[in-house]
């Protein structure tokens, strides 16, 4: 699986969340994702980018085109050097929020994509990678 082409976006303010959504959408259109799949990954991108900003204190989003054999896909990687997540299993649960959200961002994003990977170290930061195949 190779990272064919990608772009990196900074996430430091609310306007950056709009930019992450737009970059995700543009690449999904380029890849020819169906409207439903496009909507799903842009929504997941919005959730994860907001977590990066709100809880991670800002970070980066990598928006990349990837291939699995002949099958193209869209991969997004969100990374921050914030406080990290103590209990990932708990954070993934629907309805769990450490802030004042609905606690749907992580669990919901996982349902909206084909692949979801999260890793986090307390005091070091959090990294979430999602992929939607065409």
């Amino acid at each position: 699986m190779d990272l064919q082409s990608s772009e990196t976006l900074q996430i430091t303010c609310e306007e950056d969340l709009v930019r992450v959504r737009q970059a995700t959408r543009a690449r999904a259109v380029l890849l020819g994702l169906s409207l439903v799949n496009l909507t799903k990954i842009v929504t997941a991108a919005s959730e994860l980018a907001r977590n990066t900003l709100t809880f991670g204190g800002g970070g980066t989003a990598i928006v990349a085109t990837v291939h699995n054999g002949d099958r193209p896909g869209l991969r997004l990687i969100f990374e921050d050097h914030g406080p990290g997540i103590t209990d990932i299993e708990l954070a993934m649960k629907d309805g769990y929020t450490g802030g004042k959200g609905l606690g749907l961002g992580l669990g919901g994003s996982k349902r909206l994509v084909n692949e979801f990977e999260i890793s986090s170290r307390v005091g070091e930061g959090t990294r979430v990678s999602i992929t939607r195949w065409k």
Partner: protein
């Protein structure tokens, strides 16, 4: 400052969301709508989201809050024009929009509001 226009049609305030809103702008809309409901003595609020390409948990929560605030101020909210792909995604995300009335398009939404306003006026 950037704002989302709020139009008035009789008893109803009409908001047509035309852009991918950043969070602060969405928040502003909630506050301005509450003020306008009181100032214009509106009985209904119609929010057209047909142009919105996604509704994430933030916007979903905001729509729910707008409906609750309006209800307390004696106005009813109807959300219209949600794209099918958006509704599928919302459900999968886990947002049910409980307590928010929806209609297919502006016309149906206005009908819904008109009949519920006249019902409430008779009471």
């Amino acid at each position: 400052m950037e704002r989302i226009p709020i139009l008035r049609m009789g008893d109803v305030l009409l908001v047509s969301i035309q852009v991918d809103m950043h969070d602060r702008l969405a928040q502003t809309l909630q506050e301005e709508l509450a003020e306008r409901v009181v100032k214009d003595r509106a009985r209904g609020v119609l929010i057209d989201i047909s142009v919105l390409e996604i509704v994430d948990s933030f916007i979903g929560r905001l729509l729910g809050r707008i409906a609750s605030i309006s209800r307390i101020l004696d106005a009813e909210t109807v959300i219209v024009g949600m794209q099918p792909a958006v509704s599928i995604t919302l459900v999968e995300l886990g947002i049910s929009l409980d307590g928010v009335r929806t209609a297919l398009n502006v016309e149906r939404g206005m009908e819904l509001l008109a009949s519920s306003i006249s019902l409430r006026t008779q009471e």
